[in-house]
Structure formats: C-alpha cells, structure tokens
Amino acid sequence: MEMKELIRNIQAGDKNSFRELYEAYADYAIRTASAITRNREMAKDAVQETFIRVYRQIGSYNPELPFEPWFYRILMNECLRYLKKESALSKFEHPDLENDPSLAEESFDHLSDLYDTIQSLDDMHRIPIILKYVRGFTEKEIAEILGLNHNTVKSRLFKGRKRLKEQLDPIDKEEGPQ
C-alpha cells in the first residue's frame, strides 16, 4: 500500500494499516532505540511509547511530507526522555560496559571494541553516529531528526569519527600486519 494511503487509513482509525506501518518501521526503530538507550527494557518502552504517540497524533501529521523524519523525531525524544529519567535516578552513572555480562561472554574482537568505543562517546557525538550507521540516515536527515543545523551534524559526525579513530588506532596498530 502506498505510504500516503496507509497514513490516511490510520488517520481514519484502521488497525490493519497501523499494523502494516508497525511492521515496516519497528525493526529499525527497535535497533536504533536499543543502540541509543543501551538497555533492552528502555528501548522497548521508548519504541512502544513512540508508536502510541504516532497512533494518537497521526492527525497532526501531514501525509504530504516524508514520514520517517517525523517518526524518528518522536523516537529520539522518547529515547532521550527515558535516558534522562534514568540519569535522574543514577546521576553521572554510565553503563558499566566491562562488567556487562552480555559483553563478558563475548570475545573482545575488533568489532566489539569498535562498538564499545562508539558507545563510550558523549551523546552529542554518539547519537548522530548511531543514526548514521543503524538506519543509514544522511547528514541532512539527521539534522532534521535532531533539530540541528546541517553543519552542526557534519561537524559532530566528523569529530565523533575522528575520536573513534584516535581511540581505535592503537588497537589497529597492535593487530596490524606483524
């Protein structure tokens, strides 16, 4: 079904169309929320709340405009709301990656190092990187989703990647050609 038609059906209260929309967008939404919140339960709540908002506020969405930026703005707000809520409970507490049992079971191969290093960045640089690599959004789309200037996103992505390379460089050297 064409997107505009799908949206119009949802606006008219059609549950099957809502299910169709859910099937189309849930996977990447869950992956993105999981990467941002670094917590399965929080990701679940953020995505569920996002779809509830989408369903209830679909009347304020204009089907003539692209759906994804609107959807991801809601998702981002929900993820950040949950993160903020959690940080209020445990201020300044960062996820203890080294003692995370799911990580301890894994071998710390190259990819895991990269993932952990990305996740250790501050949110300002971490979130644009997640949007870029999880869903493949362009800089322009990321700017739209986060309500930032295009150049700001460009600069944050550049700095984030630079930091990552700096941090990963010693690893690369160690594991480089012997």
């Binding site: 990467a35 399965r40 204009n62 003539e64 690599y133 999880v134 309500g147």
Partner: protein
C-alpha cells in the same frame, strides 16, 4: 564507502540484532493492549460516540451553571457569557506535539460570535478576530509578504446541514485546489467532513484543510485552515490542537 563505515555498519547490525531478539512481538502485544484492547468490532462507532454526544453534557452543564448563577445573583440580566466562564477555565496549559516534540503551551478561552462556541487559542502566537460573517484566528503579527496566508476561519451556516454543504465547499475549493482530496469523514480534531487540498510541492505551496461539522441544529460550521506546506508541522499542528478544544455551547 570506507572501511570504517562498513565496520561501523556491521557492528551495529550484529549488536542490535542480538540485543533486540523478540522485542518486535513484545512491543506489538503492548500496543494491542494499550490501543486496541477496548476496541469494539466496529471502531468507527467507538470514535464517533466520542464526540457525538458532546453537545448534550455541555447543554446540561450550561443549564446547571446558569441556574446556580441566577440563584446566587439578583441581576437577572446576567450575561450568558458568565455561564460560559463558569464552565470553562479561562486559561489552561496543554501539551502539544509540534514537529515531533512535546511542547507545553498556555491557551486562552475565546468565545465565538454571540458565544455560540468556544475555542482555546494559543494567544502567545495567535489572535482571534471576530466579525459578523466569520471569526478568524491568525498570527498576532502579520507574516512577511513572501509567506502565504496563515489563518483558521470559523464560519457558521445556519440553514445547511454538513452533508449538503460539504459538496458545495468541495466545488468551491476545487477551483484553487484542483487536486483536492476526496471528502473524508473524520472524528478528530472535530467530528464531520474533511476537505484537504495542496497546491504544489514547494515549501510555500498553499494548503487548505476545511472541516464541515454540524452546529447541533439544522446548520453547519465550516472551519477552514489555510497555511503552507513548510508550516504543516508548525501552524498546521497548532491549528489542529486548538481545534481539538472547539465546543458548541448553545
């Protein structure tokens, strides 16, 4: 794509896949419970009921408020307006989703011409101009010339029911909006008919969103929102939230 990009993409794909197994079904079950658990077989009926009976409680409440007001005061000529103010708070805070972000806004009670309806207006951004023909909600300061009209007009037609009037409005709007969408029956933000038209795909393409609803008697209200494409999630969304507060009080 650079080696780094490929690795980053791969690592996110692998990790998020491991960490989200089973979540898609779990979330859908939660959504079913939250959004559809009390749903009747015919959802339309449920939604319609939501606004269909709106007028009756308001009439009862209005009558009760007037009786109380009359019994407390000797001034028999007390204005009907007082009754309205007794029922609706003059100012309240609402949460509206603008461009995907929740925003708390103070809105103020406004009465339409002859106090036949009320609507809460975001008076930090808009003003209501009343006249005999129609009431218009528009930006406090006029927009620069390059922007198309941004208004929400509320007009009453006392002798034509929505079902008849909507056809006439459709013909009128089609002159300026040849690709006007087919008439839709809606229950939100008001219950009635919706006519939606868009004049192009540029940022300043004109948008018209007109609702034709019953006035509770033999007539109709035509509520016409005019804005432009780029303002759909801004002015368009704000008009939508204001219109949600629209109530007929006569």
């Amino acid at each position: 794509m650079s080696n780094f990009d490929e690795r980053a993409k791969e690592v996110f794909h692998k990790r998020t896949e491991q960490e989200t197994i089973g979540l898609q079904d779990e979330i859908w079950n939660g959504l079913e419970k939250e959004l559809f658990s009390e749903e009747k077989v015919n959802r339309g009926e449920v939604q319609t009921m939501k606004k269909k009976n709106r007028l009756i409680p308001i009439l009862i409440t209005t009558a009760a408020a007037l009786i109380i007001a009359f019994s407390l005061q000797t001034d028999t000529g007390m204005a009907f307006m007082k009754g309205i103010k007794d029922i609706f708070v003059p100012e309240k805070e609402i949460t509206q989703s603008i461009e995907g972000q929740d925003e708390k806004t103070d809105v103020n009670l406004n009465e339409g011409t002859n106090s036949q309806y009320i609507i809460y207006v975001d008076e930090t951004r808009y003003k209501m101009i009343k006249s005999d023909k129609a009431d218009v909600i528009t930006t406090i300061e006029p927009l620069p010339e390059k922007y198309p009209e941004v208004t929400m007009e509320i007009r009453q037609v006392t002798d034509q029911k929505p079902v008849d009037l909507v056809k006439q409005i459709e013909v009128e709007l089609k002159e300026e909006f040849p690709e006007l969408r087919a008439v839709e029956a809606v229950t939100e933000p008001v219950e009635g008919y919706l006519l939606y038209g868009l004049n192009g795909s540029d940022w300043d393409a004109k948008v018209v969103q007109a609702y034709v609803i019953s006035n509770g008697k033999e007539g109709s209200y035509i509520i016409t929102e005019n804005y432009f494409l780029e303002a759909a999630e801004g002015h368009g969304a704000r008009f939508h939230y204001m219109l949600e507060s629209f109530e007929i009080v006569e």
